[in-house]
């Protein structure tokens, strides 16, 4: 399987199964036509051959044809699948390695698009106790078997509203590391409203990564991210976010925004964050239902594609001028990226990854919290509900028809199962708008890589 496309004067060919990516001239691009395997290619290339000879001359067309044949021989074009069949061993014990701790089901903002129902996830507003947090850490240590690197994300609601418990959990986890041969990596996701100097100091000493929520321009941010008094949050959070980032020397953080139908020109929000001096930026599409009015729809895709393209052109320009920044969705590690098992199995929700509510209930991920049918246990009783767990574990890019036939599957790994469930009531049926955006981002990211090589 291959995918070929043109962007900004560059022809790119992706050999899906090997992960090879090629920049090709117009002759090679046209010779390939719509072929998807080497037999197709020989037929289609011969059909296109004479017309190309008439334009470019026989010598050049012959050369391009031979070069394409060489790539096929070297398994860099129309290569066979990297495995015959992929099916996780459901008889082996699942290994948990990552937890999202809902430290607090309450929030000091009232963001319109909040998937967590402004913090409460459809339930009552509540705080995690230190005991629940410690039992979650115990469970992670126990269920992670021989895994050394474990991740804990302090999430909410807003985790700064229950910060003393965050500290207790960190201290407890660190106390277990040596004896259990584990390495905890902590992340804190915060809206920054309650950041004080003390908290910044603690976070920067303790958290391996910090995710700081801000949507971009003041108008964009304040349209969605409002304080309890109804005022926008931008003017309060921005200086606090800047202070935290400066105090950690700009290392290991993301400013993280969400774009919606109300700011389809989101490239301006990304660039605004870059203009503010942030070097690690992630601005991502909202996932919302049609009733919200700000959900992203099929008819918005052309505009959103245009925005990713505009952003890519500016991104490369800034990089060349020494003013570059990292945009999370344009970062693709072509050489040292994840292995095929990771690319096939995706986020690991429900078996490698789980979310814990303030009450200690366990869900496959933070997006499922509050949906009782997906509850898979409690930190005091352990993980049960093998049916749910196995259904998540058994779902991968080979079990989803849309993914099997998708050229971007090894970059995307199948998308978000929670989104698939929300839109299609089927974790094996991906959310189509998300798929289209993902494919566009990968195309643009590969073009950026091609530019870096030039």
């Amino acid at each position: 399987m291959i995918h070929k496309y043109k962007f900004n004067g560059t022809n790119i060919v992706v050999d899906v199964n090997s992960g090879a990516v090629h920049g090709v001239d117009d002759i090679a691009f046209e010779l390939l036509g719509e072929s998807q395997n080497d037999e197709d290619f020989k037929v289609i290339a011969l059909e296109n051959y004479q017309a190309l000879v008439d334009v470019y001359g026989e010598e050049k067309v012959e050369e391009a044809f031979e070069e394409l044949l060489m790539l096929i021989d070297e398994e860099m074009l129309f290569s066979p699948p990297p495995f015959e069949d992929y099916s996780p061993d459901l008889d082996s014990k699942p290994i948990l390695k990552s937890l999202c701790l809902h430290i607090c089901h309450d929030c000091n903002l009232r963001c319109k698009y909040c998937f967590a129902g402004t913090g409460a996830f459809g339930g009552t507003r509540s705080m995690m106790s230190a005991d629940v947090g410690k039992r979650a850490i115990d469970m992670l240590v126990k269920e992670s078997a021989h895994r050394h690197n474990l991740e804990v994300d302090f999430f909410g609601g807003e985790p700064l509203m229950n910060f003393e418990v965050v500290k207790e959990i960190v201290e407890y986890a660190r106390s277990l590391e040596a004896g259990a041969n584990k390495n905890f990596r902590f992340t804190l996701t915060t809206n920054a409203l309650a950041l004080s100097d003390d908290k910044i100091d603690y976070i920067n000493k303790t958290m391996n990564n910090v995710v700081l929520s801000i949507d971009g321009r003041k108008t964009t941010n304040d349209n969605m991210r409002m304080r309890l008094d109804g005022e926008g949050s931008y003017d309060v959070i921005l200086p606090r976010i800047k202070k935290l980032v400066e105090a950690r020397d700009g290392q290991n953080y993301y400013v993280r925004g969400t774009f919606t139908r109300e700011n389809l020109d989101f490239s301006n929000d990304v660039l605004h964050l870059a203009d503010l001096g942030f070097k690690q930026v992630s601005v991502e599409p909202v996932v919302a239902n049609a009733e919200s009015g700000y959900d992203l729809r099929n008819e918005d895709l052309p505009k959103l594609f245009e925005e990713y393209e505009k952003l890519a052109l500016e991104y490369v320009k800034r990089e060349r001028n020494g003013e570059g920044f990292n945009f999370f969705h344009f970062m693709i590690d072509l050489n040292a990226g994840p292995c095929i098992a990771k690319r096939t199995s995706g986020c690991g929700a429900g078996h490698e990854y789980a979310a814990i509510t303030p009450e200690g209930d366990i869900y496959p991920c933070h997006q499922f919290v509050g949906q009782d049918d997906f509850k898979i246990g409690n930190v005091y009783d352990g993980i049960g509900n093998p049916v749910i767990r196995d259904s998540f574990r058994g779902s991968n890019i080979t079990t989803r028809e849309e993914c099997r036939n998708c050229w971007a599957k090894y970059y995307c790994s199948g998308g978000c199962v929670a989104n698939a469930w929300q839109f299609n009531a089927d974790i094996d049926k991906p959310y189509s708008v998300g798929c289209e955006l993902e494919k566009k981002r990968v195309e643009v990211a590969l073009w950026i890589k091609a530019n870096e090589i030039d």
Binding site: S98, I340, K342, K449
Partner: protein, 45 residues
């Protein structure tokens, strides 16, 4: 080659034997919704 410039060599086949699971959960990095994995690094490389 005159007509083709390879941007990335084949990378997938050589990783069949890894699968150690020590890498970051893709959802934990920043996104929490849109789990691109290709930007993550392998812990063994």
């Amino acid at each position: 080659m005159k007509h083709i410039k390879t941007i990335s060599k084949p990378v997938l086949k050589d990783t069949k034997s890894i699968g150690c699971g020590e890498c970051q959960a893709s959802c934990q990095s920043a996104c929490k919704t849109s789990c691109t994995v290709a930007n993550q690094s392998c812990e063994k490389k």
